[in-house]
């Protein structure tokens, strides 16, 4: 080997790469670029902590811009719960003060503040257009929330609606109606498809070649046959005695493992062979029928995939081409990655090459279809080949989330549960579900809206008679529950009904106890959860919640509800 080191190909990481190193390992430069392009609007209210804590977790990783809308003036009690204020802030605009102390965290981020009541702010036309994502913190009146939600629907802007009261967190995420993700970052093993049930000719030919007269091989050779070839060798042997069919059931797979085990040499110094052990270990996870997951089927069967237009997002064009590929070959394009396995370097590189070449071929076939579609749709800008490649590699994991408007409760009209009513009723009696907390928060909003309509806006427990509020809130919550049962056309038996009533009553009591107060710990936890979901919505990486998340800080557990 040559002693001279090659000329430096790399000047070391840039200042930005150094600063963001720990997160770039998760969402890469593409995720970072999306984050830096974003402008997040926080519409703050109440004690105003959870929103500010959310922004902290977005400013640190380098979101491009943020704006805080808040009409409050800093009061003494803010200092006991909000970290991003100082003694001198008392009496000043809370929007400007929190913006100032957040901005300090990261000079690469630009912060803005607007001190104005939200009703006035959203009354202006186009007032929401600069923002790529909106976070609304409760309490707000239903009318304001409806307007922002409608803006989100019309402009495909993600909207978060967040409650943080006492020990409880509740937030809903309104994504665009067709939110698609390619890069969900599954565990690396999940990206491997060895295609053992449908091996292509060249792979089979090589498997035969590499296992030819195995019994005559030296111990070293025998112990270094890559296990993929071993599996294919024993599959061929199995199929000879099983009508040409591979092992399918658990029982057959167990027998198949014994067949492989019978080939292990134990006369060698190690008393066994690692490559055979690897082959046996891979049987259950690698020998599977090439079936489409329900999430991929949902993508292929959606109207956006079937009816392409000139303006279809790239995702749908590629999905259409991949779906054509699947129809033709009854399999998704080969991802091309193989796991590490016992083998000498050159053999492993050869096997890796076989899979890579095949994956390249199949991605090219998809690209060819994409180009044909672009031509027939007369699209001016071709999709980058790299985007098609990345899609093909992760085709088994693509996701579609159907964003839905935030459930807004109005004092008079109640909640329309729609098609979710039945699932919601089933959750009522499931003690691990936090559906009752969701109902309590809907009630919390109704309570606030009623008083706002009378010009005396306040939240439950924030007044002289806490017990009175608790009774009122519990009563309202029970009405919502009863109404839910009616909508689902269901009844609970007496025992279940009593249990639901007691649990709902307790949650309402705990919620009222807080009197609208935020606990800093819970606000920080909520700020972490919301920021994490904001990052997913902005980067289109990882999988965001669908669509409502709750955290119960009394019992320290969470729940996600599809509502």
């Amino acid at each position: 080997m040559s002693q001279s080191t090659p000329p430096p190909l790399h000047q070391g990481p840039t200042a930005k790469e150094k600063k963001y190193d720990r997160q770039l390992r998760l969402w890469a430069a593409s995720g970072q670029a999306a984050l830096e392009d974003a402008h997040v609007l926080l519409i703050n209210s109440g004690p105003g902590v959870v929103g500010v804590e959310t922004l902290k977790n977005l400013v640190l990783p380098g979101v491009g811009h943020f704006t805080i809308l808040d009409s409050a003036v800093v009061r003494e009690e803010d200092l006991g719960v909000n970290f991003f204020l100082q003694e001198e802030s008392v009496g000043a605009e809370r929007a400007a003060e929190t913006c100032k102390y957040l901005q300090e965290l990261n000079p690469d981020v630009e912060g803005h503040s607007i001190s104005e009541p939200v009703e006035e702010f959203i009354a202006r036309p186009d007032t929401l257009t600069p923002y790529s994502l909106i976070i609304v913190v409760a309490p707000v009146v239903p009318d304001v929330l409806s307007k922002i939600s409608a803006h989100g629907t019309a402009t495909q802007t993600p909207v978060f609606y967040v409650h943080n009261v006492g020990f409880y967190i509740h937030f809903s995420l309104q994504l665009p109606p067709a939110f698609t993700i390619v890069d969900i970052h599954p565990e690396p093993e999940a990206l491997v498809d060895l295609r053992l049930y449908k091996p292509w000719k060249e792979l089979l030919v090589n498997a035969k070649k590499w296992t030819w007269r195995m019994e005559n091989m030296s111990d070293h050779q025998h112990g270094h046959i890559p296990y993929v070839f071993l599996l294919l060798h024993y599959l061929m042997e199995w199929e000879r005695t099983h009508d040409g069919k591979p092992p399918r059931t658990y029982k057959e797979k167990t027998e198949f493992r014994e067949l492989i085990r019978s080939g292990i040499r134990t006369s060698n110094p190690e008393g066994g062979e690692e490559n055979f052990d690897e082959a046996i270990g891979a049987v259950l996870k690698s020998l599977n029928e090439p079936t489409l997951s329900s999430t991929v089927k949902e993508v292929f069967n959606s109207p956006e995939c079937e009816d392409l237009t000139e303006d279809s997002p790239n995702f749908w064009l590629i999905a259409h081409a991949v779906s054509q590929f699947h129809t033709k070959h009854q399999t998704l394009p080969l991802p091309g990655a193989i796991p590490d396995m016992k083998a000498v370097s050159a053999d492993y590189a050869f096997l890796q090459g076989l899979y890579k070449t095949k994956a390249r071929e199949e991605a090219d076939e998809v690209l060819h279809s994409v180009r044909a579609l672009e031509k027939s749709l007369e699209r001016p800008n071709p999709i980058l080949a790299a985007e098609v490649d990345a899609f093909c590699k992760q085709a088994a994991h693509i996701r579609l989330i159907r964003g839905r408007p935030i459930p807004v409760i109005s004092p008079n009209e109640g909640v329309a549960w729609g098609e979710r009513a039945k699932a919601a009723v089933n959750a009522l009696t499931d003690e691990s579900s936090l559906i009752l907390l969701h109902i309590a928060f809907l009630t919390f909003d109704a309570f606030y809206a009623q008083r706002a309509a009378e010009g005396k806006a306040r939240v439950p427990g924030d007044g002289a008679d806490v017990e009175d509020d608790e009774r009122l809130l519990t009563g309202l919550a029970q009405d919502i529950g009863t109404n839910l049962l009616t909508q689902a056309e269901r009844e609970l038996d007496e025992e279940d009904a009593d249990s639901v009533k007691t649990r709902l009553g307790n949650i309402c009591a705990e919620l009222t106890r807080a009197g609208g107060a935020e606990l800093h710990n819970i606000a920080a936890l909520g700020g972490g959860l919301v920021a994490q979901e904001v990052i997913k919505a902005i980067t289109r990486q990882y999988v965001p919640i669908d669509n409502t998340c709750l955290f119960d800080g009394v019992r320290s557990l969470s729940s996600v509800l599809l509502l």
Binding site: K19, A349, S556
Partner: protein
């Protein structure tokens, strides 16, 4: 102070009542909720308790910055912080108490200074050093201990110390330990009541180390970019730069390893060696983001707050849940459960752990396996039976005397059912194992 002694110089409105600032917190501290223990007394006594309890937390990193802020805004007034590290530029994406100008300074000192300035009335005492520098007497002064450490050794050390301190006659000697950890979008928060509930050592198998790549793969048959990097790190450096101590924070050293790894990869036709990967492998970098740190730190501090105030039931009591697992890469997922105390835990149990061994394997193989065994993770084990010394890491004379045992078969050294005592300089406890030979 007499109520009447405040004539004209009355303080500005708002400052008149020192609790105005804590109005939100006081809703919870003074009002009893439906889940609060019947015997709990809220109000004044609990406010006093919270204000006077000494809390220790160790690890002023990503979790630590959050924990310090949260404890201060939970109403704790006497907080002590231990951390031995100094601030690095790659900390700034999540360790929000530090600024660019602080790079190179002590994490504990900068964090304490910042939070003390921001939250008036709280006293934060920093100690820049190792938790191992402190003795039982020091740890005895605290009401509870919160950990946001990134090293498993340090966690195990503090756990063993707190378990060892418990005196059955004196309940004040039992210091609850609240521990948090994160990796990327995942993390956990747990509460340990030393000797009463499952301890960190009982839970060690929840955090199994990654299996090491065999040396012969690195030396002769590399297949992955990581193999080439490990080769440069473990073998090439030793061969070519033996006289320099490898400093993984020195860019020149990392660049050298990167180029070595790259040329080896080229030689073997392996793709994917990058500078960032080299750094990641060599420094064992764990991805970290602000949001996960915020979630896990807040979950820990929420338990600390509930534990100190009885304002709601906390995790960790016997026969209750004591562990919350968090995962945020696909939706939001928590699993909150009771991790059971183990009778054969070397720290808090009374029984030796059974060890299934091949009688024909050597003592050296057993020694090596202790590093990878999830429930042991011992890097420099010394092994004895009740009657003889099998292998000593030090002193040199004993090492030399016991070295010939390494190549012997286990069946020549110990009997089936015999007990082994294993110690390691990193830990203060003796690990007891009972040998069970595989047939």
């Amino acid at each position: 102070m007499a109520d009447t002694a405040m004539p004209d110089s009355s303080p500005p409105l708002g400052a008149a009542d020192p609790r105005t600032r804590w109005r939100y917190l006081d809703n919870i501290l003074t009002r009893k909720g439906p889940f609060v223990d019947e015997d709990a007394i809220l109000g004044e006594p609990i406010i006093d308790r919270l204000s006077t309890m000494k809390v220790l937390f160790s690890g002023a990193g990503g979790l630590g910055c959050e924990i310090l802020k949260n404890l201060a805004l939970s109403g704790f007034k006497d907080i002590h912080v231990i951390d031995m590290d100094t601030i690095d530029v790659s900390n700034l994406n999540r360790q929000f108490l530090f600024r660019h100008v602080d790079v190179g300074r002590s994490k504990a000192a900068v964090a304490a200074e910042f939070v003390q300035k921001r939250v008036k009335g709280v006293t934060i005492t920093p100690y820049c050093g190792k938790i191992q520098d402190k003795d039982d007497e020091y740890y005895m002064q605290f009401g509870l201990v919160v950990c946001g450490l990134d090293s498993i050794e340090a966690r195990r050390w503090i756990n063993a110390t707190l378990v060892g301190m418990v005196d059955g006659e004196n309940m004040d000697s039992m210091k609850p330990l609240i521990d948090g950890g994160t990796e990327g979008f995942k993390g956990q928060a747990r509460v340990v009541l030393p000797t009463m509930t499952s301890c960190i050592e009982c839970q060690l198998d929840m955090h199994a180390p990654r299996p090491a790549v065999p040396l012969c793969t690195l030396a002769t048959i590399p297949r992955q970019p990581q193999h080439c990097i490990e080769w440069a790190h473990i073998i090439a450096w030793e061969e070519e730069r033996k006289d320099d101590t490898l400093d993984t924070d020195d860019p020149e050293h990392i660049t050298w390893l990167y180029q070595k790894a790259l040329s080896r990869a080229t030689e073997y036709g392996i793709h994917g060696v990058t500078y960032a990967m080299t750094q990641g492998v060599v420094k064992n970098i764990i991805p970290a983001i602000a949001s996960t740190n915020a979630i896990v730190a807040a979950a820990c501090c929420n338990e600390a707050f509930k534990l100190a105030t009885s304002t709601n039931p906390c995790l960790g009591f016997p026969e209750q849940n004591n562990y919350m697992m968090y995962s945020g890469d696909s939706g939001v997922y928590t699993y909150t459960f009771e991790h059971m105390k183990k009778e054969d835990c070397p720290v808090c149990g009374d029984l030796p752990k059974t060890l299934h061994l091949y009688p024909n394997s050597t003592l050296q193989e057993l020694l090596d396996s202790f590093a990878e065994r999830p429930e042991a993770q011992l890097k420099k084990p010394t092994i004895r039976t009740q009657s003889t010394s099998l292998y000593y890491q030090s002193p040199a004379s004993l090492e030399e005397k016991t070295r010939p045992n390494l190549v012997k078969k286990l069946s020549e050294l110990v009997g089936d059912g015999e007990e082994l005592a294993v110690t390691d300089p990193a830990f203060q406890v003796t690990f007891r194992f009972k040998v069970a030979f595989k047939k």
